[in-house]
C-alpha cells in the first residue's frame, strides 16, 4: 500500500496535465499560439529523460563502489526508460517543429544534442550485448554509462548555450518565462514533469522485477 502511493500520484498528475493542458486558457500574446501546449507534452519528456538517465548514472556509480549486481540491473532498466522518454520527446518535438518551423528536422544544437544522446545510449546497449560475463558486463558498462552521462550533460546542457538555437528561450526567441506572469503554464508544466518521472520510475521498477525473475 505504502509503495503504491507514488504510482497513483504519478498517474493522477499525468492525467491532470494531459486533460487540463488541453482545456486551459493559454496566454494570448504568444506567437506560438496553441502549439505552446506542447510545453506540457514535449518538454516534460526531456526532464523525465534526464531524471531517468541521472538515476542510471547514480546507480552505475554506486555499482562501481559496491559491486552489487542489483544496482547494475537498476541502472540498465532506468537507461532503457530514459531511452523511451527520449524517443517520445523526439516524436512530439518533430511534430511541433513541423507546425512551427515547417520542417521535421533542422540543424539546431538542441536537436543535435538529442540525436547524439540517443547514439550514446544505443552504444551502451550494444556494449552490454557484446559481453557475456555478467560481472564484467556490469563493470564495463557502468564505466561507459558514467562517461556517457557526463558527455550528455555537456552536449545538451552546455553546448546549446554557446550557440544560437531556434528553440523558444534561445537566440532571441522568447521563452515561456516571459508569459508566465500569471503562472498559468507552470501549474501544468511542473506537475507534468513530476508525474512523468514517477510513472517512468514505476515502469522501470516493473522492468527491473521482470529481469530479476528472468535471471
Amino acid at each position: 500500500m505504502k509503495g503504491s502511493i507514488y504510482k497513483v500520484l504519478g498517474v493522477l498528475l499525468v492525467l491532470y496535465s494531459m486533460i487540463y493542458g488541453l482545456l486551459m486558457d493559454i496566454p494570448e500574446d504568444t506567437f506560438l499560439e496553441e502549439t505552446i501546449r506542447n510545453l506540457f507534452y514535449h518538454v516534460s519528456m526531456w526532464f523525465a529523460m534526464v531524471a531517468m538517465m541521472g538515476g542510471s548514472f547514480w546507480n552505475a556509480i554506486r555499482f562501481l563502489s559496491t559491486e552489487n549486481l542489483t544496482l547494475d540491473r537498476r541502472s540498465f532498466c532506468l537507461a532503457e526508460m530514459g531511452m523511451l522518454f527520449s524517443f517520445m520527446g523526439l516524436l512530439t518535438g518533430m511534430m511541433w517543429a513541423k507546425f512551427t518551423w515547417s520542417t521535421w528536422w533542422t540543424n539546431d544544437p538542441k536537436l543535435n544534442g538529442t540525436a547524439v544522446t540517443m547514439l550514446f545510449y544505443l552504444a551502451y546497449f550494444v556494449l552490454r550485448n557484446s559481453i557475456e560475463d555478467t560481472r564484467k558486463k556490469a563493470r564495463i558498462s557502468a564505466v561507459f554509462n558514467i562517461f556517457a552521462f557526463v558527455m550528455m550533460i555537456v552536449f545538451v546542457g552546455i553546448l546549446p548555450r554557446m550557440t544560437d538555437s531556434l528553440h523558444p528561450g534561445n537566440g532571441g526567441n522568447p521563452g515561456f518565462n516571459i508569459y508566465d506572469s500569471d503562472h498559468r503554464l507552470k501549474i501544468v508544466f511542473y506537475p507534468a514533469v513530476i508525474g512523468w518521472i514517477l510513472v517512468g520510475t514505476w515502469i522501470a521498477s516493473l522492468r527491473y522485477r521482470l529481469k530479476t525473475l528472468q535471471e
Binding site: 550514446f120 552504444a123 558514467i146 552536449f155 553546448l159 554557446m162
Partner: protein, 217 residues
C-alpha cells in the same frame, strides 16, 4: 612519475618496432588528402576545408586508437598492473596518445595546406584548437579502446562506442577552428577555449578515475 616516464619510453619503443603501422597511417592521410584533392576543385570554401580536415583527423585517430591496446594483449595487462599499477599506466597511455594525435592532426593540417592552401588567418588560435581537440580525442579514444579491448578484441566495438562520444568535442573544436580561419582574435574566442579546456580536463579526470575499474577481473 618515474614509472610514467618509463612506460612512455616503452610505448615509444613499441611504436618504432611496429613501424609498419605508422607508415600505414601516413599512407592513409596522404591517400585521403589526395583523394579529396582529386575529387574537389581547388576552390573549396573555408567551411568545407575545416570539415574535411576534421573528418580526416577523426578517422585517422579512430584508426590509430583501435590498436591502442593491441600490443597489451593477454598477460601484458597483468604485467603492467604489477609493475606500475593502473593509474600510472593510464596517465602514460593518455600522454602518449595525446602526443600521437597532436602529431597526426598537425600532419593532416600540413597536407591540407599543401593540397588546398592554408586559409587560416589566426594561426595561434587554430593551433590551440587543434591541440585541445586532439587531447580530447585521445582521452575518449583511450578509454573506449580500453573498453573494447576488455571485451576480448572486438575492434569495431571501440569505434561504435567512440564515435558518439567524440561528437561534442568535434563540434566545439570545429566551431573554434572556423573562427580561427575567419580571424577572430584570441580574446573573443576565450570563452570557447575555456570550455574546451574544461571539457578536456574533466574527461581526462573521469578517464583517470574510471580506468582502474576496467582492469579488475
Amino acid at each position: 612519475m618515474k614509472k610514467i616516464l618509463r612506460l612512455l619510453v616503452r610505448f615509444f619503443h613499441q611504436e618504432v618496432r611496429n613501424s609498419n603501422v605508422l607508415f600505414s597511417l601516413g599512407l592513409y592521410l596522404l591517400g585521403v588528402s589526395y583523394l579529396i584533392y582529386l575529387l574537389s576543385d581547388s576552390t573549396t570554401s573555408d567551411t568545407a576545408w575545416n570539415t574535411l580536415l576534421w573528418v580526416v583527423t577523426f578517422f585517422g585517430s579512430v584508426q590509430l586508437s583501435s590498436r591502442s591496446f593491441e600490443f597489451e594483449s593477454g598477460n601484458y595487462f597483468f604485467y603492467y598492473q604489477t609493475i606500475a599499477g593502473p593509474r600510472s599506466t593510464i596517465i602514460a597511455k593518455l600522454l602518449f596518445n595525446i602526443l600521437y594525435m597532436v602529431i597526426l592532426s598537425l600532419a593532416t593540417w600540413a597536407l591540407f595546406s599543401l593540397f588546398f592552401g592554408n586559409p587560416v588567418y589566426n594561426l595561434g588560435v587554430f593551433t590551440l584548437g587543434l591541440l585541445l581537440g586532439s587531447a580530447g580525442f585521445s582521452v575518449v579514444l583511450t578509454l573506449t579502446s580500453g573498453i573494447a579491448h576488455r571485451t576480448k578484441g572486438n575492434a569495431t566495438l571501440g569505434t561504435i562506442l567512440a564515435i558518439p562520444l567524440l561528437l561534442p568535442i568535434l563540434k566545439l573544436t570545429s566551431v573554434l577552428n572556423l573562427q580561427a580561419i575567419v580571424g577572430v582574435t584570441f580574446t573573443e574566442t576565450a570563452n570557447l577555449i575555456g570550455t574546451l579546456v574544461a571539457l578536456d580536463i574533466g574527461i581526462g579526470l573521469l578517464a583517470y578515475l574510471l580506468f582502474p575499474y576496467l582492469w579488475q577481473d
